[in-house]
């Protein structure tokens, strides 16, 4: 009996397995296409909201105002933290992009990412659309993944806009030429622009880490304003703590500590160690908070 069963049963799983291969491959491709479709839908939702567009407009206008102000007032760095950059600006418009990224990183870029990430899940929960998406079913993990990718793309877009607008305006208002680095060496313009690209990507990575925190917070509430405020408070508190020497021991672990380490890219040779340290910090924050978001979102009751 058992032998007979074993004999008849044995080919079963094998042939079933073979038969399943083709459909699975098809399902796999279909799933990838469907994932892109959902991402496209999410992006069009994020990038068409007037609130988000207004944020991007602010992100575009502020560097422009900064550039004009620096052009009108003779750029003199004085003793401020950005003294070197501002001193350089007079001779090279490219530096406007570095100055703009540094200044926007203090509040406006984190604000932009906080709004979009804090709203990502909480906004859908608050308006009730989340229950419709999940009943479709969009899949909780899948939806969360798409949401996070959209947040990262939005943060990247904000960084690119800051860099792009300030670079264009810097070129229009100031002379452009070979770039003198913080370490005193002068590199060709193309090299300088490449460094600007890496700086922009580095800042976008920092924003992606903040976006993960926002995504996690967003899964705990139905009120997007609460989530947005929480992320902002966290970012500002971290920046404040980073400036208090007594907290020196925790500084390297603060989410904002490595944000400005992109100045390593403006040295020759590049201080790779600092950069990697920063990227590692962003990666760890992103992984931890995406995991928190996932754990919460896949187990929570959707009652809104």
């Amino acid at each position: 009996m058992s032998t007979a069963e074993g004999l008849t049963a044995a080919p079963g799983p094998a042939s079933a397995h073979q038969a399943d291969q083709a459909p699975f491959a098809r399902v796999g491709r279909g799933a990838v296409r469907a994932w892109w479709r959902l991402l496209a839908s999410e992006l069009s939702l994020v990038f068409r909201r007037w609130r988000n567009l207004a944020l991007l407009a602010v992100v575009a206008v502020l560097p422009a105002i900064l550039g004009i102000a620096l052009r009108l007032a003779t750029p003199r760095g004085g003793g401020g933290p950005n003294a070197f950059l501002i001193d350089q600006l007079a001779g090279n418009g490219v530096f406007l992009a570095f100055i703009a990224l540094t200044i926007m990183l203090a509040l406006v870029l984190p604000l932009t990412v906080a709004v979009v990430s804090g709203d990502s899940v909480a906004g859908e929960a608050g308006s009730g659309t989340l229950r419709y998406l999940l009943a479709v079913p969009a899949g909780r993990t899948r939806l969360l993944g798409v949401k996070y990718v959209a947040v990262v793309i939005f943060g990247l877009a904000a960084c690119v806009i800051v860099a792009g607008v300030s670079l264009a305006l810097g070129a229009a208002l100031f002379p452009v030429g070979p770039v003198t680095l913080l370490s005193g060496t002068t590199v060709p313009l193309a090299d300088g622009l490449l460094r600007l690209l890496f700086v922009t990507l580095y800042v976008a990575a920092a924003m992606a880490a903040l976006g993960a925190i926002g995504l996690a917070v967003s899964t705990f509430t139905e009120h997007s304003i609460a989530a947005i405020a929480a992320v902002l408070v966290l970012a500002v508190a971290s920046e404040v703590a980073d400036n208090i020497p007594q907290f020196g021991a925790v500084h390297p672990y603060l989410p904002t500590h490595w944000w400005l380490s992109f100045d390593s890219l403006l040295r020759s040779p590049i201080a790779t160690w600092d950069l990697l340290h920063g990227l590692l910090s962003f990666g760890v924050y992103a992984v931890i908070f995406c995991a928190i978001a996932w754990a919460r979102f896949t187990s929570a009751d959707v009652t809104a």
Partner: protein
Amino acid sequence: MSAARRDSEEADRPAAGGERRRGPASGVTVTHAGPSVANGSPNGDAPAISPLGAAPTRGETGAAVTTHGLTKRFRGGQVAVDGLDMVVPRGSVYGFLGPNGSGKTTTIRMLLGLVYPTSGSHELLGTAMPAGAARVLPRVGSLVEGPAFYSQLSGRGNLARIDAADRAADPRTAGDRISTALERVGLLAAAKKHYRAYSLGMKQRLAIAASLLQPRELVVLDEPTNGLDPQGTREVRALVREIARDGTTVLVSSHLLAEVEQICTHVGVMRTGRLVFQGPLDELRARGAARIQVRTPAARQAAEILTELGLEDVQASDGEASAQLGDEAPERVCRELVLGGVPVAGLDTPRPSLEDLFVGLTGEGFDVDG
């Protein structure tokens, strides 16, 4: 055509359902726990299972929704749903009734996998939930607790968003399917209007359209008539009838029996988280035991005779005596009364209306017990 397709799916599903090495007899009880299989029957099991496909789709195996002791206790300790054993037969229009706050919406949220039960389990279309959500929910359309959409998008834009979230949806046919769904609910003319400009009735209809983007085997409508005027209510009823006409099972909840009474084949009645009645609507109707009412100046004497006849719940008031009629024939009761010397001025055997039965089951008005 669609019926034939459904039949063949029915025949396939058990073959896919993990039932491989057993005989046809035991196969009858297997309805779930199988892996999703898109192909037919890989190793010629289909003949062994075929009796299932031919078997009537009513009853335990063919149920569109089955719950086993489904319970939800919220964090505050409040028990919203308490040991629910619900069976929605395939092809039925199941009226899920109960006052506001009796646990209907929580139940529906659990059915759809939005809320996780504290204990108990359930199956949709024979597939265990929430584990099988990705497989079974594409065949289930739903409207949960009122419409909720993106106010900045048009009606069409909203349906496109919902459709984009569906892994199983074919993007090439999305435009056509959205148009068809909008047309079915009469919103095609308002398709480009912003959602925020929709009236409440239009919002409800858009939510129903969202549940009709794909061919469905089960449609769950939670309070689809909530907040609608009588005209809108009638439209929704007509829509439900139309959905049910081609064999789709419809689970429709309402706190008003009158709104769904005309379209339901089955009802389940909730009261404070428990199912107090479930079955065909006719069964509920038959449950309403008739009383016998005797108008007479000698009410006390009449009551004595009614008691002697063995009738229950005898009551006597000024000028009238009444009792539960039970199996007694009213003409015999009348003769006994007359023979007993009771002057019978009038005799009636009223049955409680469905509404009375419903209220009897759920409690009067703002009855918040528990």
